[in-house]
């Protein structure tokens, strides 16, 4: 296990909520995970499960005025003194120096994060000058280099174009160029390649791996694509409806997943060479608006759901080796009680055989 010295981030019981017309929406619900320096952590889960809001919380950029971090800590160890990001005002000078400098983020919506009235080059140069204290000429040179690095051809011409003159893929590449231009400790990438072709995606992910080797930054890679996670992450957090439902090394997530949701996700991906009917997860993610606590949110879609799943929130069970799962099937005490009548693990096994 890593010591605190190598730690970059320790997220403890993070809770981020929105006030909505209907009441309270717990977008991030008691989320805990850690990140070591230079490591790549993947966050996966379906649309609306809280990936982006988790990321924005880490940057202290929760959408205002309705969103708020209401609990937990985000311990950041990138400076001489540890600091709790969650305890700072989003607009404090500390946060402003950390953002874009030490922690940098690539947002999911490239169009909203590029200003339409300035050229791509201007925005890139601005970012470079702000964080690296270089002159205009050198900033321009760096901007051109970065654009070339992210696979934009004839960057010296393209640098004078406006965002709307770029294709969606090019805009996202420009964003990546911008985020990487300041050599951050931590790069949070929110679906950076989702809108891109596999060919360009491969280029960008390779680029991120190269830069990581070169500069040693840690990466949090947010995606719904397990293929991307498999290729880049060393550890994986699986989210569902605002919860972390499973957390383990990438190998464990793919070869010995524990949570029924993780298993179902893995089984629903089409695999080349296998044209059998896909296993789909019935139903959809629950509406988080005013969702009452006190049960397992996956129960309506879970093939193993038991009575207790509808009556009590499952605990997060850690095997002390870093593999954590939030599911009653893995609760030793509960399974022990059930042993005579319904051996839960047995039940899980048979159910699993049925789905295979």
């Amino acid at each position: 296990m890593a010591t605190n010295k190598e730690r970059l981030l320790d997220v403890q019981n993070l809770e981020t909520q929105f006030r909505t017309e209907e009441g309270i929406l717990r977008a991030v619900d008691r989320v805990s995970f850690h990140l070591n320096k230079g490591e790549t952590l993947g966050i996966v889960g379906e649309s609306g499960c809280g990936k982006s809001i988790t990321a924005k919380s880490l940057m202290n950029l929760v959408p205002q005025p309705r969103g708020k971090i209401v609990g937990g800590k985000i311990m950041y160890y990138g400076r001489s003194e540890p600091m709790d990001i969650a305890s700072y005002h989003h607009n404090s000078s500390e946060m402003r120096t950390i953002r874009g400098n030490e922690i940098s983020m690539i947002f999911q919506e490239p169009m909203t994060s590029l200003n339409p009235v300035f050229t791509v080059g201007n925005q890139l140069m601005e970012a470079v000058m702000l964080h690296q204290k270089v002159g205009k000429r050198e900033a321009k040179q760096r901007a051109i280099e970065m654009l070339a690095k992210v696979g934009i051809s004839t960057p010296e011409k393209r640098i004078d174009r406006f965002p709307h003159e770029f294709s969606g893929g090019m805009r996202q590449r420009a964003m990546i160029a911008m985020a990487l231009s300041c050599n951050p400790h931590l790069l949070i990438a929110d679906e950076p390649t989702t809108a891109l072709d596999v060919t360009v995606e491969a280029q960008i992910l390779n680029l991120m791996l190269d830069l990581q080797d070169e500069m040693g930054m840690a990466i949090i890679m947010i995606t719904h694509d397990l293929g991307v996670i498999a290729g880049i992450a060393t550890r994986v957090v699986v989210m569902y409806a605002g919860w972390v439902v499973e957390m383990a090394t990438t190998e464990d997530i793919f070869y010995s997943p524990k949570h029924p949701y993780t298993k179902a996700l893995l089984q629903s991906i089409p695999k080349i060479g296998n044209r059998e009917r896909l296993l789909s997860i019935p139903g959809t993610v629950p509406d988080l608006n005013n969702l009452e606590r006190g049960w397992c949110y996956f129960a309506p879609r879970c093939p193993h759901a038991m009575d207790i799943c509808r009556q009590k929130e499952p605990p997060l069970i850690d095997d002390n080796g870093g593999h954590a799962v939030k599911c009653w099937l893995w609760d030793k005490e509960f399974v022990g009680q059930q042993n005579d009548e319904h051996p839960a693990e047995e039940q899980a096994k048979t159910a699993e055989e049925q789905t295979h």
């Binding site: 379906e46 696979g151 969606g168 293929g227 498999a230 290729g231 789909s280």
Partner: protein, 340 residues
């Protein structure tokens, strides 16, 4: 699947004019679709893949005349009679649209937010003046049930549905006229994997039930392989390879196909962290390179490739396979399954 060709496309082109200045002078053309030939057999699902901007949507829209082709023929034989979609007038088109339908790429943008789901699904019937209002609503209800929604949800609005449900509504709408042929433009690209699986299974079931023919446009090669009988690979407005789905993945015959296969992300951490990336990006379709249009990125390009434009030619020893490369019968390309 029968041997009847429900669709035969010949030399289809769609050029968009590039205009400049106050007089909007035409200074060039984006050759979005630059002369493509293919056929689709009745009951078949043919996949169309390629990078963003290679012309997939333009091709699909030109087939059904959401765009007017610049040149070429689109011979469509839904029943016994063959018509050239490209040459039809408005009235003729309206009639043919009963047999050819289109499912849009974006389930969020393609449904009118102010219409109830019942109206959205029954709209094509209304345009075709089929049945009474009551009959149309009844049919809309049936269709919603068919795609796994409930007839009782007909009075709701699109924003009350999830992405997967909205895509189902789009599919229900496209089926309302009992079409023979459906063009699905990235029907699952915007969806989560679990929901994507639901919609893919649904499309397959509907195909079996109604004996539908699909053109399935997508950029996700695993999805395409899963659903298609044959696959066409497009690059810069051209079709560069046509092959049976498993053939294409096992023994690609065009360098571009090989490159695409190498870039596929696989959900297996043992299979290497680094995917082999195709260098560079797609050239501007307004200025395609001389000779073979893949020569700027091709690992096998020779002098000849910079001068001569290869045509889509049959692959030796195979009846249906085609590839547009001078060295189609010489290159030893690596397939997907061979990769360790």
């Amino acid at each position: 699947m029968s041997d009847k060709r429900i669709l035969e496309v010949r030399n289809l082109k769609k050029y968009f004019p590039i205009q400049k200045g106050v007089f909007r002078r035409v200074v060039g053309h984006v050759r979005a679709v630059d002369g493509i030939d293919f056929y689709i057999k009745e009951g078949e699902c043919v996949g169309l893949v390629g990078e963003s901007g290679c012309g997939k949507t333009t091709a699909g829209r030109s087939l059904i005349r959401l765009l007017d082709p610049t040149e070429g023929e689109v011979l469509f034989t839904p029943h016994d009679k063959t018509v050239d979609m490209a040459a039809l007038d408005k009235q003729g088109l309206k009639q043919m649209r009963q047999d050819m339908q289109y499912v849009f790429q974006d389930p969020f943008a393609s449904l009118n937010p102010r219409m109830t789901v019942g109206r959205i699904v029954s709209e094509p019937m209304k345009i075709q003046e089929i049945g009474t209002h009551k009959e149309r609503m009844l049919r809309a209800g049936e269709l919603l049930e068919k795609v796994g929604l409930s007839a009782s949800q007909m009075g709701r609005f699109p924003h009350e549905f999830s992405g997967g449900q909205r895509q189902r509504i789009g599919i229900a709408r496209s089926l309302s006229l009992n079409p023979r042929f459906v063009i699905c433009d990235e029907p699952v690209s915007a969806l989560d994997v679990s929901v994507q699986a639901q919609v893919l299974n649904l499309l397959k079931d509907l195909q079996d039930e109604f004996d539908l023919t699909y053109l399935f446009v997508a950029h996700d090669l695993s999805v395409v392989e899963h659903i298609s009988d044959r696959i066409m690979v497009m690059y810069l407005g051209r079709i560069v390879e046509i092959a049976g789905a498993s053939e294409l993945y096992e023994t690609p015959k065009h360098p571009y196909t090989e490159a695409l296969l190498k870039a596929i992300p696989i959900a297996d951490p043992k299979l290497g962290r680094r995917r082999i990336a195709l260098e560079g990006s797609v050239p501007d379709p307004a200025n395609p390179p001389e000779g073979c249009n893949f020569n700027t990125r091709c690992a096998y390009a020779t002098d000849r490739c910079h001068k001569e434009d290869p045509s889509l030619q049959p692959v030796k020893g195979s009846e249906e396979r085609m590839a547009a490369c001078h060295y189609v019968n010489e290159l030893e390309l690596t397939g997907f399954l061979v990769r360790e």
